[in-house]
């Protein structure tokens, strides 16, 4: 056992860090730091910067346009992005649809899509969930009926993140309603969002923003060339995709950055003669969170070492801890920020960019409560905490 990274890995970390420092646009950095979310333009700009360096798809093999990094390099890269307030590569393109296409797609699809994913010329959104199919995704109903060279798609997706930014969607649709098991009649298709019959309706979330949408399909004709892999095998590809998410899912770097920020802001918050950082009750909570985060980081490294050293063919049992604990720590951080901002959690942003109204309280304050509200999502999506616990109970403990 060895805790230290090698000299090469340390040098790599330095290289990544200085690249970010030199190339990340200041406004994007500021928005990520303050938890305000980035615009489509900012995201695409950053993806193009990463793509030009060959770094926009840290996990992809070199033959598809990735950097061909080791798992440890991938981890270091993601951690540095998170810690230095850089957006991570557009996840739907890079972590989700890309690997499915290069693993299961045909040559033509690889040639067509992969380069366009790397620089975000195509912005994909994920059309999996439906009103009746959330945790129980396999019960999805949106159907695709073959008609010559097309599928005719009817139905509805929901919670589609950034459908309003997307020009493409990858979706799970039911192609065989008579399959013996509901997992068996599902296909994985991709198509442009401007096809006739697609309607996107934004959903406002409790933080006041619009990041999710409903997407309706009314006799949408999707070319059959958009089928990835085999018809009715879509469930396997979706499962492959989820199993793929073991590096960076704990978001250790992001939580480290949050804790650093919590301390900075607390030190700037006057309480009596001193600041909030002089309050032992508050400091205790911060340091408890730091300990838990360290435990998570070490767990992440164990999983990483299993992948790096032993090939990680079967998921390491501890990997199921990563999402569960990582999401809870992220939520704890947003609540600590509520402790920091105190009564100034209350005002809503007085107008946003270009507004002449002075901000109420510190100029970062208006993003704190929305951040706390918004981060309730992290224990709901990507396999809810209950679903994660269910997996541990069944698959690991054999209950």
């Amino acid at each position: 056992m060895e805790l230290e990274f090698t000299a090469e890995e340390k040098a790599f970390r330095k290289e990544v860090r200085s690249f970010i420092q030199e190339n990340l646009p200041a406004e994007t950095r500021q928005r990520v730091k303050e938890g305000r979310g980035t615009s489509r333009e900012m995201m695409v700009e950053w993806m193009k910067i990463l793509a030009a360096k060959g770094w926009s798809a840290p996990r992809w093999p070199a033959e598809y346009g990735g950097p061909g990094w080791t798992p440890i390099q991938q981890y270091i890269f993601l951690e540095e992005l998170q810690f230095n307030h850089a957006p991570e590569p557009q996840g739907f393109n890079i972590s989700m649809v890309g690997p499915v296409i290069y693993t299961f797609g045909n040559e033509e699809q690889k040639k067509h899509f992969l380069p366009k994913l790397l620089d975000c010329e195509y912005w994909f959104c994920q059309g999996f969930s439906e009103p009746g199919a959330g945790s129980d995704l396999a019960s999805l109903k949106t159907k695709a009926v073959r008609d010559g060279d097309h599928y005719i798609v009817n139905g509805q997706k929901t919670w589609t993140t950034f459908a309003q930014h997307a020009n493409w969607m990858f979706a799970l649709v039911r192609t065989d309603p008579d399959a013996p098991k509901k997992q068996m009649g599902i296909s994985y298709i991709v198509f442009p969002m401007d096809l006739p019959g697609i309607t996107v309706r934004p959903i406002q979330t409790i933080d006041g923003g619009v990041e999710v949408n409903e997407v309706f399909f009314d006799d949408v004709r999707v070319p059959v060339s958009g089928l990835i892999g085999e018809e009715n095998k879509g469930w396997d590809y979706a499962k492959f995709l989820l199993g793929n998410e073991r590096i960076g899912i704990a978001r250790v770097g992001a939580s480290k950055a949050k804790i650093q920020r919590i301390k900075e802001l607390a030190a700037s918050m006057p309480v009596g003669e001193g600041s909030l950082m002089d309050d032992p009750r508050f400091r205790q909570k911060v340091v408890e969170t730091e300990v838990k985060l360290k435990a998570l980081e070490m767990t992440q490294l164990r999983v990483l070492s299993d992948i790096a050293v032993r090939g990680g063919k079967k998921p390491h049992p501890a990997s199921s801890v990563l999402k569960l604990v990582g999401s809870e720590i992220q939520q704890t951080c947003t609540h600590l920020l509520m402790d920091v901002v105190g009564p100034y959690a209350m005002p809503k942003s007085t107008g946003g960019e270009g507004s002449n109204e002075p901000s109420v309280g510190p100029d970062w304050a208006d993003a704190i409560a929305p951040g706390y509200f918004n981060y309730r999502k992290v224990t709901i999506y990507g396999g809810s905490s209950e679903v994660q616990r269910g997996i541990i109970a069944k698959a690991i403990l054999g209950l």
Partner: protein, 379 residues
């Protein structure tokens, strides 16, 4: 010892509950929020007609003589409805200050206006760096002719834009955090030298930043400099009221959640049939009951003549309610899944109001520290 409501209190509860049910729904509330004041003036008139504005005033002032328990009953229903009107700032904080810090003539005159629905109050007390320190008052009051001239900045003044009169704290002597030297004034928000910046709050209400530049203020009471005791009494009553409001909101949030998990199906069955969710819903119930008990405790102690006992009880209540509302509120969203995240379902609105109540008049840590410094709770 008796925790039961009297017959009259039960009638009050039924009346307010019925009124809120008739007048407040998810959609109507959304409409009220878009009104210029942030609520529907007709509801305020109806409060006057129903006697809710007379509730906290003594009978000799034309009121009904309601106490802490009556306030709790009303605030609980307001919490269930997520009511938008300045009832707390007028009938709890304002009434408390008039009861304890005004001359008889001032109290009688204002009570009459308030009871008739013609005067809404807002409490302009907090200042930028004060955080939860009630004694942090930098706003200055200088004698000028017959009256006083006030200068300073007040922040986070709930319902500041809707108020017909502001109650403003200001210093006649002493340093910024001194207990002595604070006085309370009535200020007309349209008076020259007052500027208001009105904004929406995260939980659907409206508040204002209030700038005072040489504003004429009418001294409340006749003992300038002794205002802190009045403010602390009013703040404790506000805490008791907020605890009751939180209980109402928590109760409704639990009902909404239980209804939802009974009806939402995944994996071919109601998700409420999964034990993992049943246990969480049970934990929410536990939190609700603990909070309810403490809200009752606070409302029975909020007018305790002994300020030390009173403030201990209110701090303990606010700390427990703060812990409970977090645990219950966060779970209520979790159990709703994606729909809990949307403005289109009511649960998120409850969660947001609860989260802000947690930060009003001191959060959990603040009250734990206060209690700790006071030697904890006596056995």
């Amino acid at each position: 010892m008796d925790f039961e409501l009297s017959e009259e209190q039960q009638l009050l509860k039924d009346m307010v509950a019925r009124f809120m049910q008739d007048r407040y729904g998810f959609e109507t509330r959304g409409k009220y929020m878009k009104e210029p004041l942030g609520f529907d003036p007709a509801i305020w008139e109806a409060y006057a007609e129903q006697g809710l504005l007379a509730l906290p005033f003594a009978e000799e002032d034309g009121g009904i003589g309601g106490g802490g328990v009556e306030v709790m009953i009303v605030m609980e229903q307001m919490g269930r409805a997520l009511a938008l009107e300045p009832w707390m700032s007028t009938a709890v904080i304002g009434a408390s200050i008039l009861r304890n810090g005004a001359t008889d003539a001032q109290r009688q005159a204002l009570a009459e206006e308030i009871i008739g629905g013609a005067c809404k109050l807002a409490f302009a007390h907090s200042e930028g760096p004060a955080r939860y320190d009630l004694a942090h008052v930098a706003t200055k009051a200088e004698t000028s002719g017959e009256g006083y001239s006030l200068t300073g900045d007040k922040t986070l003044v709930l319902w500041g834009g809707a108020a017909d009169k502001l109650i403003v704290s200001a210093r006649v002597s002493g340093g910024v955090r001194d207990e002595e030297g604070v006085a309370l004034f009535l200020v007309d928000p349209s008076a020259s030298g007052v500027s208001l910046q009105v904004y929406d709050t995260q939980d659907g209400l409206k508040a204002a930043e209030v700038k005072l530049e040489g504003v004429q203020g009418e001294l409340l009471g006749d003992a300038p400099g002794k205002g802190m005791a009045v403010i602390r009494q009013a703040a404790d009553e506000a805490i008791a009221a907020l605890c009751a409001e939180a209980v109402g909101a928590m109760e409704k949030a639990l009902e909404l959640t239980v209804d939802y998990i009974k009806q939402r199906e995944q994996f071919g069955r109601a998700i409420g049939s999964f034990q993992g969710l049943q246990f969480q819903a049970s934990d929410m119930f536990v939190e609700l009951e603990l909070a309810k008990s403490m809200a009752m405790y606070a409302s029975m102690c909020a007018r305790d003549p002994d300020p030390v006992e009173r403030s201990r009880a209110c701090s303990a209540a606010k700390a427990q309610v703060g812990r409970s509302l977090k645990a219950l509120g966060e779970r209520s969203i979790q159990l709703h899944g994606g729909v809990g995240m949307t403005m289109e379902y009511s649960i998120g609105h409850y969660f947001k109001r609860l989260s802000i109540i947690d930060r009003m008049f001191g959060d959990v840590d603040h009250h734990l520290q206060k209690l700790d410094e006071a030697g904890g709770l006596a056995a």
